[in-house]
Amino acid sequence: MTLEILGISVLWIFLFGYVIVASIDFGAGFFNAYSLLIGKNHILTNIIKRYLSPVWEVTNVFLVFFFVGIVGFFPQTAFYYGTILLVPVSISLVLLAIRGSYYAFESYGARGHIGYTLTYGVAGLLIPASLSVVFAIAGGGYVDLIDGQPVLNYWTLYTSPFAWSIVVLSIAAVLYISSVFLTWYAHKANDIEATKLMRKYALVWAAPLMISALGIMYEMKSINPESYSHMVNLWWMFAISAVLFIITVVLIMMRKKYGLAVGLLIAQFAVAFFAYGIAQYPYLLYPYLTIYDGFTSTQMAIALIIAFILGLCLLLPSLYLLMKLFLFNKNYVTGKEDNHA
């Protein structure tokens, strides 16, 4: 394995981590706001807050880790993506600011401010939409080089069915991932009402997820034949992902083994996410930037990898402690203990 592949794999794993934890977070915020609108917030709010409050900051770090890491391993991405993404990413940042401040403000100050809760819920769906556009851009076709400077062609991007399919997929995935997770969490908390509601949402969002995923495959065929053919070669990975998806949905339908369902869901997305990533190889921004011509010096790469390993030695036990205290602690999950400062 070359350093380039190692670098991009590490970053891809962290991006995947962000996709999962952020999906749970964003979806939960949306369900929370939605339940307020339809008058069912008494069922959901407690469950959602109890899980999310201690971890919102950690979720954010996954994102920071990714964008700092990619500039470290692939400095040229700062030049290309930095120049073209000024507007889309600034919008995401504004939305992230609204969300990031919410938990702290809400749990300690403006309790139950309806306008804020709704803004927050909607922001949660717009962030994945605005961030996922980057995947479309990475695939190529929306960036021109003018006098050696990359320029984003907004019109082509905003009228592109491919970009919109990715947006739809990201929103469906967010709602599906988070509802499956919260079904399990509510079930653990012995909260029958919340489990019922979240289970319903999980089943509702399973269909649009699959439809949009298939739509993207279809559009890729005409837009980016090169990575489409890579994806066809990786058909078995997508097949595994589909099978995992079906088992998850069946388990939820039969009201069985929600914990296993969450595990399979993560596996399903992991396989699909990595298959998609491998199909893009070797491009970071098609056709201008590959992982080879954008790679940092060997010395820096080695330094970063050593730092990464040392960092993980600190991080993994800490994450385990966090999960042990808040995710797998019966008294905390069921709300028997409310020990917040």
Partner: protein, 448 residues
Amino acid sequence: MINESAVFWSRALTELTLSFHIIYATIGVGVPLMIMLAQWTGYKKNDEHYILMARRWARGFVITVAVGVVTGTAIGLQLSLLWPNFMQLAGQTIALPLFLETFAFFFEAIFLGIYLYTWDRFDSQKKHMLLLIPVAVGASMSAVFITIVNAFMNAPQGFDIVDGELVNIQPLLAMFNPAMPTKVAHVLVTAYMTSAFVLAAIAGYRMLRGSKHVYHKKSLLLLMKIGLIFSIAAAVIGDFSGKYLAEYQPEKLAAAEWHFETEGKASLVLFGVLDGEEVKYAIKIPYALSILAHFNPNAEVIGLDQFAEEDIPPLYIHYLFDIMVSIGMFMVLVSLLYVVGKARGWQFIHSRWYRWIIVAGGPLSIIAIEAGWWLAEVGRQPWILYGLMRTPEGATTSDHVDLMLLLFAGVYAVLAVGSIVVLVRMFKKNPIEREIEERHSEKGGDFL
């Protein structure tokens, strides 16, 4: 290709984001240490008041952390969005501390979450206190790493340039650049100092508002002691920073001191206004600049006459220098009088006017932090990478930066108002007297 308007707006937006971020970031670095010290004092003295202090500070801290995290995320991405050419170069040379900073941040985030949501869950306060160590260490380490990146911009090293290509990159050498020790130390101690004075200002304010509770007296004394130690440290390290500048960035020192001509026995200029090249109404302390620069009253200090016009930073940084130094000295005096007065039984430190000075100390320290950063940053203009890359060369070529400035200004306004409203409401609704009473009824007799 340089897009002039994008350069201007990129600078404005970066300055806006950083100026806003450092208020919350400084508190974010310093307050965990205060919480830890309060918790430790409470545990050692077996005094619940200090434990409650830690708890109440922690609650307020969450709000500032939230704003610190989102503005920090903003500046993290804005570096690439607004300065893509600079970040491409920096990515090759200084990525290591940037990367390490995210680990420190990760570490802090995890343990802060645990600390906040496990209150009273452990049997001993000691276990709970141990959780604060990674929070405080993580907070300080992220300041260390990010300041190293900034130090690199002032003193880039650890690579060679051969035919415009970067070669022979040494990540550790880039990290341990000459600017690093003074910068890191100064940032850390001023953050601790500012946090102590901000919290002291709150205690002072509650006392002025009529609270007679012993809790405020205890917290004020603790904070004034901490503030005294760190403000003295800040002054000493500030002096080292002056010596660093004289050696490595003489034009910054010369501009900050309006030192136009290279000469020995240089005097330090305090205050004053500039009229052309003439300094008016200033206090001049003979030999002081030579001492500040070289430890020697006769030493020659390089003046602005040694530099080309286009390499000299704006001369208004002198005012920033004055503001920073005067506030720093003033705060040493305020805390010194309080700590000594407390031991000697001086009555004036309990008077209303002295309390008002303590209250003013919080905002003043934050102003000093802002002034200090502006001095440091404007003082290295016109360079984004000292001696290597001029600021316009690092900026984006993209349009719409002006619109983004408006957008972010709006967001920061919302965050500023939101955080202040929430903080004020949080403590107004739940004063210490009430919290102690509630805790008393929860826990039974053994409580003051």
